[in-house]
């Protein structure tokens, strides 16, 4: 758990270091805001305090407080990312377990090659292909954004559970899942392979359980741990991929906002979105660490064993 505490800290120092450089470039705005007499370090302190309390300053481009700009977008991003990660891990885990359990020649080979290929394809390329195939050629799904132009949400929940939203969600979700599928698959496969030789599996088989029951109940329960470790890695990695997906599908999320901010030279938004991104990653890692402790009694009851 100490591990986690240390990990929370890193989010801030890097962000802090960058503020100084950007500050100097936009003298007018900041001079007006902070006053000439304030020495640099004092400005730092105030800035950090503001940041931690959620006040990110005003956006240059939008002429609105940054929180307004980013607030909704975080939820949008998390919705897409969270769903895709959860599904990818479940599906990847299941398929990996399948491939590990039965070493049947051709199915395994195809599966592994497929996983390898999916992993190597750049996410945005796959996104463009999927977009072309399903939106352009077949016309099954809308091509951009989170809602149709004529849509207006009645309430917060309606925003995210309407059919319109789901229709828009399908393609980016599909793309994300395909992209993130292969690593969990391979990890699950190798850990199932390791578990397979263990005695308790023989025992379960001897008890007369059906093959798939053995696999799911006994095999997967024990093989799942490396997968959880991988999940925290995936969260960090997925944010990057998320960014690219948001651009391709014009999904109004934080990643896309950050890129737009850079091209508009809108520094407050840029800094704030990076900060928020890092925060979300760290929080998610924390959650996963807690989950890991909950699932693996060896860590929790360390001393007793």
């Amino acid at each position: 758990m100490l591990f986690c505490l240390f990990r929370i800290m890193p989010g801030d120092p890097t962000v802090l270091m960058l503020h100084g450089d950007l500050r100097v470039e936009d003298r007018q705005y900041f001079l007006a805001r902070w006053g000439l007499n304030q020495p640099m370090y004092k400005q730092y302190v105030i800035y950090v305090k503001n940041f931690l309390m959620g006040d990110y300053g005003g956006s240059f481009y939008y002429n609105k407080p940054v929180i307004d700009v980013l607030g909704e977008k975080i939820v949008n991003s998390v919705v897409l990312m969270g769903t895709s990660i959860v599904i990818a891990i479940f599906l990847g885990g299941l398929l990996g377990a399948l491939f590990g359990w039965r070493r049947s020649g051709w199915m395994e080979k195809i599966g592994i090659t497929g996983a390898l290929v999916l992993r190597s394809m750049p996410i945005y390329w796959m996104g463009i292909l999927i977009l072309s195939a399903f939106s352009f050629w077949l016309g099954w799904f809308p091509g951009r954004g989170m809602h149709s132009l004529t849509f207006s949400a009645k309430s917060f929940l309606a925003n995210y559970f309407s059919l319109d939203f789901l229709k828009h969600l399908v393609l980016p979700l599909l793309c994300a899942i395909f992209s993130y599928l292969s690593d969990p698959l391979m990890i699950m496969r190798s850990s199932i392979l390791e578990v397979y030789g263990e005695d308790f599996i023989e025992m379960a088989k001897a008890k007369g359980l059906k093959e798939w029951e053995v696999m799911i109940k006994h095999g997967m329960r024990n093989a799942i741990l490396p997968l959880i470790t991988y999940t925290s890695l995936l969260v960090g990695f997925a944010f990057g991929g998320q960014l690219l997906l948001e651009i391709v599908f014009s999904w109004p999320g934080i990643g896309r906002e950050m890129v737009l901010a850079v091209s508009h030279q809108d520094y407050p938004v840029c800094q704030a979105s990076f900060f928020l991104t890092a925060m979300v990653v760290i929080v998610m890692n924390l959650v996963i660490d807690i989950l890991y402790v909950y699932l693996d009694p060896r860590i929790a009851y360390g001393k007793r064993y």
């Binding site: 890193p10 463009i128 651009i247 890092a278």
Partner: protein
Amino acid sequence: MLSKSRTHEWIIYWRRIEEVLRIIFKDSLGATGFIFLGVFIVIAIFAPHIAPFDPFEVLYDHHGAIIRFHPPSRDFWFGTTQFGHDVFSQVIHGSRVAIAVGFLSALCIVLIGTNIGLISGYYGGWIDGFLMRTTDVFYGIPFLPFAIVLISLSKPSIGMVVLVISLLMWRTTARVIRSQVLTLRERKFVHAARSSGASDLKIIYLHIGPNILSMTFLYMAFGISWGVLGEASLSFIGLGDPYLVSWGRMLNEVFISGRMMRAWWWTLPPGACISLLVVGCFMIGRAFEEVANPRLKRE
């Protein structure tokens, strides 16, 4: 007498490299991957001779109009772009950037990661603790957002791209090498070396070093793939080097032009090349997986 033993010691590295190459070629996947990589390297080296046109050359037809969005034809094997550039030439020249960035960043990743792993694993104690905390810092940072912030602070260029990729991607290498070193450290030959009076540096680089070489090669292969993907992602966003053609940049141009679905001849090649190169690297990596984890061998 002294020089003979010196050369003898360093020959170990050469033998290990041979062993590594043998491992790669024994596995059919690994050999295929190596061939993929080799093909791209050759293309990259001979790019100006293979490409029929300059990648930034605007092409005119005999009426004097710019040839835009031309589908593949006998003159332009992969068709033309929105700006009248030949896609095939762009793809060929793009391989140069890909290979260069891939190898450079892979080298840096491996150098940084291996050394940190070696030093951290061998010395242990507070050095280990300090170095591992540092790597944890880099662990928490998502790659693309940080890369965007870094590059936006300075001019986008290929140097920056390599720098950013190297800075962020060495983490896994360091971790893995460190755990390998930890197991190797307690082995008899290290004890023997230490008791015969070898200095710490010697032990690290002459005795432990060659034994982790296969891991190093593995991460070199992965490093190339990360470098290529990272560079392509950054270029796709528009933060790559503006003076060079790269596959990511081609995808960016397609996407911006809005014709990505119709101009399939422009969309497919760069993405396919990226995928092939990365698949090649992963296949090489797979060859090592069988060695590292013998239980995966097919019985």
